[in-house]
């Protein structure tokens, strides 16, 4: 972000609840485009997002949006669209009425046009006159997104927005966010699912234990992840013979044979191993029945990054 004015600036932000530190001295800047806030459950993402929206106060540090403090600054909220992780809606309200109300209290001038456009963008025009209490989880999320974008905000902050969406809705959701970002908006989405962020965000902020563990382009972070020590479980027709061949690979540090005959391979470069292992097995005429990562959970990925 150097050389340009960041849209969002988080500067030395901490938040603690009694003796529990939820967010610790986090600093970053965000500009236009899609930024992913990635971290396991309980990492502090939601607390951080809440401070970025002004819903929660910081214990230390500052958060600014367009250079202005975001906390207790209602005038700024007209430029901000926020979709929290909580999926509660006014169940008695029809979808269209909900979006209309949100547009009205945000002072949208051409109300009817804006409401219809927002609902059409989330592909819910046909269901707009049904009560929100009858919606599926995915529909509720989409109608909430319509209410979030109805006032055409410059900044969108979305906390776990893809929760409850089916695969088709996910694709629609992702395309919509890309389109909105393409118009120059700043979009921040949080997720605990690596692939979700990978598909959407150009820039990633990794939050672990309330700290910023890494930030930057997704490819650079992914490359760093690929180079971490990685355990892979391999089930093959001839495990001991395969173990001998595997040890010759440069991407492998160690191989153990489990009592049940499965191999546990410790790789220093999982991407190379992905390419080399099938080729090696084919050359040696050994059947591969199953290859599975043992520590591919987000928590273990984050654990590695924190320890580096």
């Amino acid at each position: 972000m150097s050389g340009t004015n960041p849209v969002v600036r988080v500067d030395g932000v901490s938040r603690w609840f009694g003796s529990v530190v939820a967010v610790s001295d986090v600093s970053f800047e965000i500009g236009p485009g899609i930024t992913g806030l990635l971290g396991p459950n309980g990492a502090g993402k939601t607390t951080l997002l809440r401070m970025m929206t002004g819903l929660a106060d910081v214990s230390d540090g500052s958060v600014t949006l367009f250079g202005q403090p975001v906390r207790d600054n209602p005038a700024l909220y007209g430029r901000l669209g926020v979709m929290s992780e909580h999926e509660t809606v006014y169940s008695f309200m029809r979808g269209r009425d909900f979006v209309r109300m949100m547009a009205r209290i945000r002072g949208v001038p051409d109300l009817d046009r804006a409401v219809e456009k927002a609902i059409a963008q989330v592909d819910l025009t046909e269901a707009a006159d049904k009560r929100m209490g009858t919606y599926s989880r995915g529909m509720r999320q989409r109608m909430r997104l319509a209410a979030t974008i109805v006032h055409d905000p410059d900044v969108l902050i979305l906390d776990e927005p893809l929760n409850g969406a089916d695969p088709r809705q996910r694709v629609h959701f992702q395309n919509l966010l890309r389109r909105l970002a393409g118009d120059g908006r700043t979009i921040i989405i949080s997720s605990h699912i690596l692939e979700e962020v990978e598909q959407l965000a150009e820039t990633v902020l990794l939050i672990i234990n309330g700290k910023l563990a890494a930030s930057g382009g997704f490819r650079a972070i992914r490359a760093a992840l690929d180079k971490r020590p990685y355990h892979v479980r391999v089930i093959a027709t001839e495990p001991r013979r395969l173990a001998g061949h595997i040890m010759q690979l440069g991407s492998v540090d160690a191989v153990n044979v489990d009592p049940d005959g499965a191999l546990v391979v410790l790789s220093n470069n999982v991407r190379d191993l992905q390419v080399e292992l099938p080729r090696l097995a084919q050359q040696a005429s050994i059947g591969l029945r199953r290859v599975e990562p043992l520590d591919d959970s987000l928590e273990s990925v984050f654990g590695y990054l924190v320890e580096r």
Partner: protein, 237 residues
């Protein structure tokens, strides 16, 4: 503000709430009717003490308002929809005002209707007395509303705290402890009734009418400002 007012009305008018309010509001009316129809008509002082002071001003009115006012914001805090409102460019007072007006619009007809009917039966259609009862209770309604709406913003146990306040403070201590009477909404309601109709409520009113008017305005203003301030400074769930 119209949108938030309509939203508030919808949130506060559940079937069970309306039933409970109807039952509560009917109690003083039925009680007054039974007393008047009884074999020994009570002295005016007795009636004012039991039905108007203890029952209507000290119990029924605050009970109805605590059930409505404390959830005006309390429900939105509980179900985490308050952020929908606070993340809008509206000045905070424009969020508080529809909540207060919504509470008044829902609770008001029940309480004022109850006060009017009770006074009408008890004072044998004496227009001045009926107006005094209704106006005194009405001003109490304003004070209780501003207080309980604020309470719904500061604690998730607003109804419990409100009930404790009604039972212990308004119902018990303010009736016996001289100093506390000056901090009781019920006392100011009675003082206002006495001010509007000096022939009545003299034995129950322990506060000067002018002081009651000043305090009523102050209480409403202070709690409205506190609600607005709370909305600005709280962590919205």
């Amino acid at each position: 503000m119209g949108s938030l007012f309509r939203l508030t009305l919808h949130q506060l008018t559940g079937k069970w709430r309306l039933i409970i309010m109807t039952v509560l509001a009917s109690l003083p009316v039925v009680f007054a009717w039974l007393i008047v129809r009884g074999t020994r008509a009570p002295f005016v002082d007795e009636f004012e003490a039991i039905v108007l002071s203890t029952m209507l001003a000290g119990s029924i009115a605050p009970l109805i308002i605590v059930a409505i006012g404390s959830v005006a914001f309390g429900n939105e805090v509980e179900d985490r929809t308050l952020a929908n409102l606070t993340l809008s460019p509206l000045p905070r007072w424009q969020i508080v005002l529809p909540k207060v007006l919504g509470t008044l619009a829902v609770a008001g007809p029940f309480i004022l209707g109850s006060a009017f009917a009770t006074g009408f039966i008890a004072f044998n259609r004496d227009a001045t007395a009926v107006a005094a009862v209704t106006a005194g209770i009405g001003v109490g309604l304003l004070m209780y509303t501003s207080f309980f709406v604020w309470l719904g913003l500061v604690t998730k146990q607003a109804i419990g705290v409100g009930l404790l306040y009604i039972v212990l403070w308004e119902g018990f201590f303010s009736g016996f402890v001289e100093g506390i009477r000056f901090l009781s909404i019920r006392q100011y309601s009675l003082a206002l009734m006495n001010g509007f109709d000096p022939r009545r409520f003299a034995s129950e009113a322990h506060v000067d009418f002018t002081a009651a008017v000043i305090v009523a305005v102050t209480v409403c203003t202070v709690f409205f400002v506190l609600s607005t301030r709370r909305l600005r400074t709280m962590d919205v769930p």
